[in-house]
Symmetry: C2
Subunit: 305 residues, 2 copies
């Protein structure tokens, strides 16, 4: 028995703006989040990989969640990333998200130690869930082996669903491997599965997926949403093809700095290009080339916040 889910559609892992002093910029952050919802996002995933979440300190993450919720974003639409390396930190951030009323949390496995067993990962999630001990906790597992290296096998996902059907309700699959997404969709019908890229949006929907959680939702939410809204129409394949091409153009450059450059360019707000080390800003020429490709090939336009 799998619990009913409340997330679906197009969810953006919100970019995190930084001031020139390197601190997260609360004003730009809140404005961007609200603008994403206005652009058609059906939910937001603050503190994903795209949001440079693992370059944010524990207190910064907690502070930025407060900025969103206290700033008027409906917490039911929020699925913040709360999976840190250490169980105790993960408990702290997750508990805060639950208490703020977040609709769910997106949860990385502990990612420092490699080659850990499924039993060990199961023990981690299990201890986390018991320690939080709150029925409101809804976990979306975050499978992103290209970055975290530690992933969640199809079997482990099944064990977690079986043990905690009211808590472990969904998954974001950022493996980039359609076969893995398909295996999950086939194995756990009713479980809420989001491919981690709009490239698999239509394929996902045709196989029981819930939408997508995608980095480029930060700049292209309207068009991705349009595919989601029209996936059962005969225009679906053409629409999908277009967003796939745009995605390829954007990800041809370092993704996170490129997305920030796009927001900066269309919002006429150069401060948006700041990133936190170990990332570096794109140099201006590289960013400009990407933006020209988008505007010339796709008439891409963005009215940023």
């Amino acid at each position: 028995m799998i619990a009913e889910h409340n997330f679906y559609g197009v969810i953006a892992p919100v970019l995190t703006p930084f001031g020139d002093d390197g601190a997260p910029d609360a004003v730009r952050y809140l404005a961007h989040a609200k603008w994403l919802l206005a652009e058609g996002c059906t939910g937001l995933a603050p503190f994903g990989t795209t949001g440079e979440a693992n370059s944010l300190g524990l207190e910064e993450r907690i502070g930025l969640l407060d900025v969103l919720v206290d700033g008027g974003v409906d917490p039911a639409l929020l699925m913040p990333g709360t999976g840190l390396c250490a169980l105790s930190d993960t408990v702290t951030v997750t508990r805060h998200a639950v208490e703020k009323g977040c609709g769910g949390v997106m949860m990385l496995p502990p990612f420092y130690y490699k080659a850990v067993s499924d039993d060990g990962l199961f023990a981690y999630y299990s201890e986390l869930i018991e320690r939080i001990g709150d029925k409101r906790l809804k976990i979306y597992l975050y499978h992103i082996p290209p970055v975290a290296q530690v992933g969640l096998s199809v079997e482990l996902v099944g064990r977690l669903i079986e043990a905690y059907p009211d808590t472990v309700v969904g998954l974001k699959d950022s493996s980039g491997d359609w076969n893995n997404t398909k295996a999950l969709l086939d194995a756990y019908p009713g479980f809420t599965i989001f491919p981690g890229s709009e490239i698999f949006l239509l394929k996902g929907m045709r196989n029981g997926g819930a939408g997508c959680i995608t980095a480029t939702g930060n700049v292209n939410a309207r068009m991705i949403r349009n595919v989601y809204d029209n996936w059962q129409t005969d225009r679906a394949d053409d629409l999908q093809e277009e967003i796939t091409s745009m995605r390829m153009t954007i990800q041809a450059r370092p993704m996170i700095p490129m997305l920030k450059s796009i927001v900066a360019h269309f919002g006429n707000d150069p401060g948006w290009t700041n990133v936190r080390p170990p990332f570096l800003q794109l140099d201006a020429a590289q960013a400009q080339a990407g933006i020209e490709e988008l505007t010339e090939q796709y008439g891409f336009e963005l009215k940023a916040a």
Copy 2:
């Protein structure tokens, strides 16, 4: 010009004991640290990979450092691991270590994001050092690509030494790749380089190394120290061969749980076997087999704290 170093010899990355409630056990921790120094360790590296540091929360790490220093361990002998994923958390923990008077800190690169550039990593260390802004800060870079995945190239190490000669004073090389250690030793004579395993202790000493920082120092410090003390004698190769064999026996099983089982066995203290997820305890039979191999083949004996 490379600053004079104050770490040398055999340094143990201190194991972290956990109570049955999963919390770090301050009493066992302090006792173990003092015992390691009595056994011949010339320094301690709390919060290394072996110490399950990346399963410790931010506050737990700070609290355990206080346990050691306030409990009477000379902070000049401590090189705590303070490199977390996020610059801001790293600053918090590092500043605390400096203020407690630690002789140095062992610093992982930010390890969540992969395929980051040397320029990005340089920017990270650079911003960290500027933010701490304290002459007492002595950084030992921590290169452990098999686990962190993100490593420090020989070139990047050189750039950091050149930019911060009084701060970036050493490195622990846990690559397991002697060629990398040798390249570092050749490139930066006078820089304090510790192989991350006693397997390379003698080779390292013969090439200008400073000793070793090794997980098995938690159970075999006396014999490893004996190699360090006798590296210029004609017994050196035989002594080295013996500690290498013992190391191979220990690491034939999952290393951290095995080390804890050894401490538990010889200290007659079963509580020492607790680990934190994602690790799992060794099952009793597996632990017993490892301990028998050590005692029967090497007459291994340990009078734990």
